[in-house]
Amino acid sequence: MTDRPHDSSRRRALAQLSAGSLASLAPWAMHPAFAQAKSLTVGVVYVGPRDDFGYNQAQAQAAAEVKKMPGIKVVEEENVPETTAVQKTMTGMIQQDGAKVLFPTSFGYFDPHVLVLAPKFPDVRFSHCGGLWTEKNPKNAGSYFGYVEECQYLNGVVAGHMSKSKKLGFVAAKPIPQVLKNINAFTMGARSVDPKITTTVIFTGEWSMPVKEAEATNSLADQGVDVFTMHVDGPKVVVETAAKRGKMVCGYHASQAKLAPNAYLTGAEWNWLTAYKTVIEAAQSGKPHPNFLRGGLKEGYVKMSPYGPMVSEAARKNADDVKAKMLADTFDIFAGGSAGLKDNKGATVIGAGKTIKQTDVELEKMNYLVEGVVGSA
């Protein structure tokens, strides 16, 4: 993804934000459009429907908040595939609607589409969701992402307390690092409560494939799984199917509490408004475009859904304690501990006493499932 440690680039990006004086070094920042920007048009592009109770809805919720900011006009387009269609949509937003800041929110929009357009429109700021930007990419492009695995760890803690069968289920899209990281964090959170717990994972192979998601949920329920979570674009099907089977769920992307109020324990949610605001405020004040934005619970990039009424006192307390440590920056998920962290084939992936910070680029290459996960990456 990037060949430098995330750590330094993130700090650098944040430093750029505060140090406005650096702005004069970037020639495009002097552009009059930025200097006297009063009314700003922002374009948001979604790969699926805005009301999918998932990935796209999380972005649309932030866009809806942005609409309320003074002097901001938002233009949106949904169901835009990762083909030249998205290039046309972004160009249309720039040329037909006068957008100066764009949020192409799907992972596949970055390469080649954002990379093709950014050099063509040097006075437009592209802020892509997914965290792919590197120094080699155009300066008017950038990316934002969140350490959502923190929330999946907390999901796991709650699930660990609530599960009676000690079997958890994870319906996942594809075995790629981002997804594996969530499965592992969820499992480790649960096993911090009870090391006997296992998570069974099923990969559907698609970001959005409702039929397979329902089949996977039913199959896991048949195997005795009683708490579910997921990493697919629209968690609606998994949540509703699990609730129908009388099982519990931890949500993902956005809150699905409304869909199953009696089964929804808590959930890992994005809080994209933080990233959107940072990018837009930089554009309004003419500061350099923040190229690389990342954060977790502490920075306000992700958040937890409120606990459902059925969540026990012990579960709440345990999760809140871990969350407090995360907020204080004294908790690392991927740590070897005293015995080392093993994958589910028995090999040690993180040595005893070794800790990998969440900002470490090594985690971006994760290709294993930790001990306690049933399934193969």
Binding site: M1, R50, V75, E78, N79, T83, K88, F107, G108, I176
Partner: protein, 364 residues
């Protein structure tokens, strides 16, 4: 009769726009503004035209994958399989063979993608001719198989290890990629599409081979009675159609994505089915119908951004338009003059313009 050829679909389209105006009016939007935006978005200026044409380009090729076998009497709906395998073949070829870094290399890529697409659709044709398997079902199932093969290879042996969260093959060398036409955003895929439609249209109409194919499609038994090699002609039609879809996939890889990845599975093959049926399996008609389709896409984009309408509303317009266009076919055999004599005061059918308006529309 010629007037009806163009007049009926145009009238159906006008009726669809009228109905859609009523639909958005019920939803609280201004029909006048909607129509203006629809036109502006699709054909209003040079940007809109580029937008429309670029969206139309792959559909011309995938529609041919339906239209050609249809002229030979087969309903093939699995063009998507040929698209993804054609694209995959183009991305994979440089793994196996070093290609010259120039137009010849690109031509070899295209030829290989076409060959793979041709072979894939020919399987459906062969299954039908030699094993009696329904080609509609088999081509659809083959499309699912193709997508599974595509994913297996892209996420497995052909994966570029640098592509972590979006498994892709290695990118094509820059010299092998296809650029835009004369500085515009419209790439050469559009030219391929138009040339293929016109070329294959001429072949169908003016050559003995094309004629033989149409005879097979019209009545296979007659074709065999007069000694035409029906099996071979049907396989040829499938292969030609498949090669067009394979080319569409190759162009997507070489002109847009630079590598093969899951974004290639965008449903172009399935959209082509609709285009081909609206064009009544006529290669010449595919060009304007594909442009109309591209126009809907481009207009829908602007409609969403300007009026905040959901994407579904554009699909409603498309749905109304295509149902009306297909329904208007029922009026083709009507003897309007006779109807007029028998019922002098017959009211015009809702949504269908009276004959006078039809002929004037086509004259314009």
């Amino acid at each position: 009769m010629k007037a009806l050829e163009v007049g009926l679909p145009v009238a159906a389209l006008a009726a669809a726009l009228l109905l859609f105006g009523g639909f958005v009016w019920l939803g609280g939007a201004s029909p006048l503004e909607t129509w203006t935006i629809l036109f502006k978005g699709a054909f209003g200026d040079w940007f809109s035209w580029q937008n429309t044409l670029q969206r139309a380009a792959p559909l011309m090729l995938t529609a041919l994958c339906v239209a050609l076998p249809a002229r030979a009497g087969l309903i093939i709906i699995g063009g998507e399989g040929a698209v993804v395998l054609g694209g995959l073949a183009a991305a994979a070829l440089p793994y196996a063979v070093p290609l010259p870094g120039n137009a010849i290399g690109t031509a070899i890529l295209c030829a290989f993608g076409m060959a793979v697409g041709a072979g894939w659709i020919a399987i459906a044709g062969a299954l039908r001719q030699y094993r009696g398997v329904n080609e509609t079902i088999s081509s659809l199932l083959l499309a699912y198989t193709a997508i599974a093969i595509f994913k297996q290879l892209v996420e497995g042996p052909l994966r570029d290890p640098k592509t972590l969260n979006k498994p892709s093959t290695r990118s094509l060398a820059e010299a092998l990629q296809i650029g835009g036409i004369a500085g515009s955003d419209v790439h050469w895929g559009l030219v391929c599409g138009v040339v293929a439609c016109v070329g294959l249209g001429l072949w169908l109409v003016f050559t003995p081979g094309g004629f033989a194919l149409r005879v097979v499609g019209g009545n296979p038994r007659t074709a065999q009675l007069v000694g035409l090699p029906a099996n071979r002609l049907i396989l040829l039609a499938c292969a030609l159609g498949g090669s067009c879809a394979g080319l569409a996939g190759t162009v997507e890889v070489a002109a847009v994505h630079t590598n093969a990845n899951a974004s290639l599975i965008a449903g172009y093959g399935y959209a082509g089915i609709l285009v081909a049926f609206i064009a009544r399996q006529n290669p010449f008609a595919i060009v304007p119908v594909a442009i109309l389709f591209g126009g809907f896409g481009a207009a829908g984009s602007l409609l969403q951004r300007r009026l905040g309408l959901p994407d579904a509303s554009v699909q409603v317009l498309q749905g109304i338009a295509f149902v009306l266009i297909l329904a208007s076919e029922a009026l083709r055999g009507v003897d309007w003059a006779a109807l007029g004599r028998r019922h002098p005061a017959a009211p015009a059918v809702a949504g269908i313009a009276p004959p006078t308006a039809v002929s004037s529309a086509s004259d314009a």
